[in-house]
């Protein structure tokens, strides 16, 4: 296609590590450092080991109307790429050429103020995202309807539930109509129904001919929305192809298979300044850390964390998925009633979740740790941090062996009890069928799925 609207050429971005410390550096440190350097006669090297390339030598082109998914592990450079494309930060090397208006959605609700009402925040947020007042007025009703907050329009948003808040925030953002839309993982807000609605809105944008770049950890969403995928790894663009092969490659690549991943050093482990993930382990029925399981034994997923600040909204868990990117289920530590929640404390915590025996079918599965402040932000969202294999052993029926080595269809294979009623007990059948034929008929199973 000749109608290129985004051209990225040899793009590189260098950050200082220890930016955390730089952030609070004081004038005193600066002065003391300068004096020390002068007195010791060693000038600091401008580029030393304390820098890191978040992006290196990335080049690609995007044509008008393309919907491109950008995937990669945390720290692969996805967000940095979007930040440069959004003009929020400058590249260190190379260049970006863009044609047409760019709207970026790196976060929802930027600039929202808790003291202001929903109505006021719509105008403020719209203006921050680059909408003109007339445009906001034109779309106002639509924004309110999409967010489903009609009744609370004149209530300060600090009185909103967290769900209402993110719905409103997303809704304003979703009504931005730039030619090029850059989206970073903002669809993962709100409840399931709203997420679906948000995805639909994204799909509309794509169909209307907008060019969309979409960063996500949700493989199902990127597979559904994007035709083309970019895979980033450690700042490099490692794959640029159709979305499905890229997803498959990503999920299969470089996954540790020993049954555990540990981060011994506090530096570099996933998390933020409040919570860090230190280890993920898979433990079998006899207490051994392994990556191969039999379906007749439970699989215990261990998550070790260091918590420095306990937040009430903290949610810890994982997604169980397949290498094709299908999420089998999501487990959070506070899925149950409040009385059953693990009592987290500051410091080192080990959380265990036992996936019951007799649930999974044979195959390869992935565990993707998920830690977030509910409806606020992701702290850890690593895809397929660990993989394991399951061998089907829990079926006791002789019929399960008929396939002889071949697997049953399905991702899960729970054994669900069946109930039956014979004809003589079924009023509808007693007068039509001959009474001497005891025909067995099966009724519907009383459970639709195995639950923990």
């Amino acid at each position: 296609m000749s109608d290129v609207v985004i051209r990225v050429e040899n793009l590189g971005k260098r950050y200082r590590i220890g930016a955390q410390q730089m952030r609070y550096s004081t004038l005193r440190d600066l002065i003391v450092g300068k004096i020390r350097n002068i007195s010791l006669g060693n000038r600091r090297k401008p580029v030393g080991e304390d820098t890191i390339w978040a992006l290196r030598d990335v080049s690609f082109e995007v044509s008008r109307g393309e919907v491109v998914g950008i995937i990669g592990r945390n720290g692969a450079g996805k967000s940095t790429l979007l930040k440069i494309l959004s003009h929020i930060t400058e590249p260190t090397k190379g260049r970006v050429c863009l044609r047409g208006g760019v709207g970026s959605l790196l976060e929802v609700g930027t600039g929202f103020h808790l003291e202001l009402t929903g109505r006021e925040n719509i105008y403020l947020n719209g203006a921050i995202l680059g909408m003109k007042k007339a445009e906001i007025e034109r779309k106002f009703d639509e924004i309110v309807a999409f967010a489903e907050i009609e009744k609370f329009l004149d209530t300060p948003v600090k009185r909103y539930s967290s769900g209402m808040y993110v719905r409103l925030a997303f809704s304003v953002a979703a009504h931005l109509e730039p030619e090029i839309l850059l989206v970073d993982e903002v669809l993962a807000v709100g409840d399931a129904a709203f997420q679906k609605k948000s995805l639909g809105k994204m799909g509309d944008a794509a169909r209307e001919g907008h060019t969309v770049l979409f960063v996500s950890h949700n493989m199902q969403a990127v597979s559904a929305l994007c035709a083309r995928g970019l895979l980033l790894s450690q700042g490099n663009l490692v794959m640029d192809a159709d979305m499905l092969p890229v997803v498959r490659n990503y999920l299969a690549s470089g996954m540790p298979s020993g049954g555990s991943v540990e981060w011994l050093e506090a530096e570099g482990c996933p998390g933020d300044e409040t919570v860090q993930l230190r280890a993920i382990r898979l433990v079998n029925g006899s207490g051994k850390v392994t990556a191969s399981f039999q379906s007749s034994e439970p699989i215990t997923v261990q998550l070790d964390l260091t918590i420095t600040r306990l937040d009430r909204a903290l949610v810890i868990g994982f997604d169980l998925g397949t290498p094709e990117g299908v999420t089998v289920m999501r487990c959070y530590h506070n899925d149950g009633g409040e009385e059953s929640w693990p009592k987290l404390g500051a410091g080192y915590n080990r959380l265990e979740c036992k996936i019951p025996s007799g649930l999974l079918n044979a195959g390869t599965f992935t565990i993707s740790p998920r830690i977030s402040l509910h409806c606020v932000k992701w702290i850890v969202s690593m895809d397929a941090a660990i993989t394991f294999n399951v061998e089907l052993t829990h079926g006791r029926s002789p019929f399960w062996n008929v396939l002889d080595g071949k697997t049953r269809p399905g991702v899960i294979s729970p054994i669900i009890p069946w109930r039956w009623t014979t004809a003589k007990d079924l009023p509808a059948y007693t007068h039509t069928d001959s009474p001497d034929v005891a025909r067995k008929s099966s009724s519907a199973p009383n459970g639709t799925g195995a639950r923990r």
Binding site: T89, E90, P91, R95, R99, G101, S104, E115, K132
Partner: protein
């Protein structure tokens, strides 16, 4: 290069290319871009005003009380006890005429110095001309100014002081006070992104600056000649002298005013360049 990255409607195919490259050398000020974002400026200032007095029982009454109480304290200490000369004007009116521009300046500076850090999530998540933040923080002081001006008008009426035609010069003087606040805050707010020491320094800086400005005393106390020129380097000296002249008919602006105007422009232009240079790293450092 033209860059207004956030545009709403789908434009024609011939949209111009926008290029982002590593920064090098001197930067263009691109003040025209601010004009494209004037609505954002307005909304940010409006937000500042709107939230300042929310959940305060007296609400906007504080905008009136603050200068009024300060005036009372000054009148008792500097007018009654110290008996500072006030150019033959009743001391309360004399000090209030100076407090009008001073509070516009001091309030604007105080708000805007922390404005970038306070809006850090906007800096890291959205593109817009970063200048909009300190500018709107300074401009938000205009509402307070208008309210305290009403109080001042009442005071003038009470003391039976007539306004003269010189009041027409008030508008450029208000602009000068705003420019002074902006010029200082361009330097200080950008510095504050990297070194939080700056915000700790502000209360002290403002106090020292107030005594270096003719708020409680008259410019008549400053000797003519060299020292008067040096004194004029503080732009607020010229602004306050001008205010007193425009409102109360005291000594007309002189060479001190000229020095002040030059100082403001020098500080403002250098501040703009410094800010533009630093803003590229705001998102990475803040």
């Amino acid at each position: 290069m033209p860059s207004s990255p956030v545009k709403a409607n789908v434009a024609d195919t011939a949209a111009p290319w926008v290029v982002y490259e590593p920064p090098r050398g001197w930067v263009a000020l691109r003040l025209g871009e601010l004009w494209d974002y004037r609505e954002l400026l307005y909304f940010l200032a409006w937000r500042d005003i709107k939230i300042r007095y929310k959940q305060a029982a007296l609400g906007v009454g504080w905008a009136i009380l603050q200068p009024l109480l300060t005036m009372v304290i000054f009148s008792v200490i500097f007018g009654e006890l110290a008996k500072l000369p006030s150019d033959g004007i009743p001391y309360p009116v004399f000090s209030f005429a100076a407090l009008l521009p001073w509070q516009l300046f001091a309030g604007g500076l105080q708000r805007s110095v922390t404005s970038l850090v306070g809006n850090s999530n906007m800096l890291t998540k959205v593109y817009f001309p970063r200048l909009a933040i300190p500018i709107s923080a300074v401009a938000a002081g205009l509402v307070d100014f208008a309210l305290s001006f009403l109080v001042f008008a009442g005071l003038m009426f009470f003391y039976g002081i007539r306004l003269s035609w010189a009041i027409v010069i008030l508008l450029p003087l208000v602009l000068l006070a705003l420019m002074t606040a902006l010029a200082a805050s361009l330097w200080l707010s950008a510095l504050n992104v990297q070194y939080r020491d700056v915000q700790q320094m502000i209360p002290f800086l403002l106090q020292a600056w107030m005594y270096a400005s003719p708020v409680v005393y008259s410019t008549g106390l400053i000797p003519t000649g060299f020292w008067r020129i040096v004194y004029g380097l503080n732009p607020m000296a010229g602004v306050i002298q001008g205010f007193r002249w425009a409102l109360l008919g005291t000594s007309a602006p002189d060479e001190l005013m000229i020095v002040s105007v030059i100082a403001v422009f020098a500080l403002l232009v250098s501040g703009l360049y410094y800010f533009r240079r630093m803003e590229k790293s705001f998102a990475d450092v803040v």
